[in-house]
């Protein structure tokens, strides 16, 4: 098996397994009610972490670059217009523009 095929097969296996664990372990059973608020708050916690690591982390370094400014500009557009598409287009455009300078 080539490296590429092995990486793809491995990624498929771990992704399927990780996505299956929660539903199999907890399907049909309710979590205690006091966890409801925790579940509702998981989304902002995880999404915010994804944003800052993707926009500010380069490997194990914190790195402020053109993409950081691009993402901030995209965020402004998303906040004002509510459009996801406009947000990503502006983010890419500002990032590309700053890199071209």
């Amino acid at each position: 098996m080539s490296t590429t095929a092995a990486v793809i097969a491995g990624c498929v296996a771990v992704t399927v397994a990780i996505k299956a664990i929660g539903p199999v372990a907890l399907g049909g059973r309710d979590l205690p009610r006091r966890f409801d608020a925790v579940i509702v708050l998981l989304a902002p916690a995880l999404l915010a972490a994804l944003v800052v690591t993707a926009a500010l982390a380069d490997g194990d370094r914190i790195d402020v670059g053109p993409e950081t400014a691009g993402v901030a500009a995209g965020g402004l557009v998303a906040w004002r217009s509510g459009s996801v598409t406009a947000c990503v287009v502006v983010a890419a455009g500002v990032t590309a523009g700053l890199r071209a300078l």
Binding site: A5, G10, C11, A20, L26, V40, L46, A48, V88
Partner: protein, 229 residues
């Protein structure tokens, strides 16, 4: 499906950049498309590629993908009680979890609208695979993905989702706490772990909000509680 559409377009642009970048680390166009079709997890796919680009092996690349996907563990735990059927059927339904759909399908009471999850994911899947196909076959014409700013699409995508889905002071506070935890861990933890650890910020939810505290204060009913503020 309609609610998933904007994310499908944005995800398609992201997938396009994946199709371009994959070939820089030695993937054939077909391999890039197969990976998107079977793995369907953007951050994990990019994580695996970046390990290969740094000269890492198969094990390290798969581990990076697994860590990046580890956030789907708490998401799956949250979703579990909302899925019907036996273990195999629930495991299959759990595959529909992707960030945007999961966040949109979450209801105020902690349950999930599973049909919204499936529909929003289905259209994003089309966008994801379609974007990869375009990127894989037109990469040579497009040139450098970084020059085009395509790497900014992924964080911008999640920022738009965060702004859309975060309501209320407590949720905003938790978002800030999650971001702080993730940034603090970036220098010391392997990629993916900071995001998983940030899920701990949601434990703030175990503390009841002030207005919920009053009926718990004792066996008194709400009317009496008003008489003894």
């Amino acid at each position: 499906m309609r609610q998933g559409a904007p994310f499908a377009v944005a995800g398609g642009l992201l997938a396009l950049s994946f199709g371009v970048v994959a070939q820089d680390v030695g993937f054939s166009a077909i391999a890039a498309i197969v990976m998107s079709a079977l793995v369907f997890a953007g951050s994990a796919q990019f994580a695996a590629l970046s390990i290969l680009a740094q000269g890492g092996g198969v094990g390290a690349a798969v581990l990076a993908a697994a860590l990046m996907n580890s956030r789907f563990l708490p998401m799956g735990v949250a979703l579990g009680p909302s899925l019907p059927g036996g273990a195999v059927r629930r495991a299959a339904q759990g595959q529909a979890v992707v960030d945007a759909s999961w966040a949109m399908a979450a209801r105020e009471d902690g349950t999930f609208d599973r049909w919204l999850l499936f529909g929003a994911t289905a259209i994003q899947y089309v966008g994801w695979v379609g974007g990869t196909v375009v990127g894989a076959f037109t990469g040579d014409l497009l040139g450098d993905a970084e020059q085009l700013g395509l790497d900014a699409i992924y964080p911008a995508f999640f920022l738009a989702l965060l702004l859309k889905e975060t309501r209320g002071r407590r949720a905003i506070g938790v978002a800030g706490l999650g971001a702080a935890i993730a940034l603090a861990l970036v220098p010391v933890a392997p990629p993916g772990v900071p995001v998983l650890a940030a899920s701990a910020a949601a434990l703030v939810g175990l503390r009841r909000e002030r207005r919920d505290l009053e009926p718990e204060a004792g066996p008194r009913g709400p009317v009496e509680a008003e008489e003894h503020p």
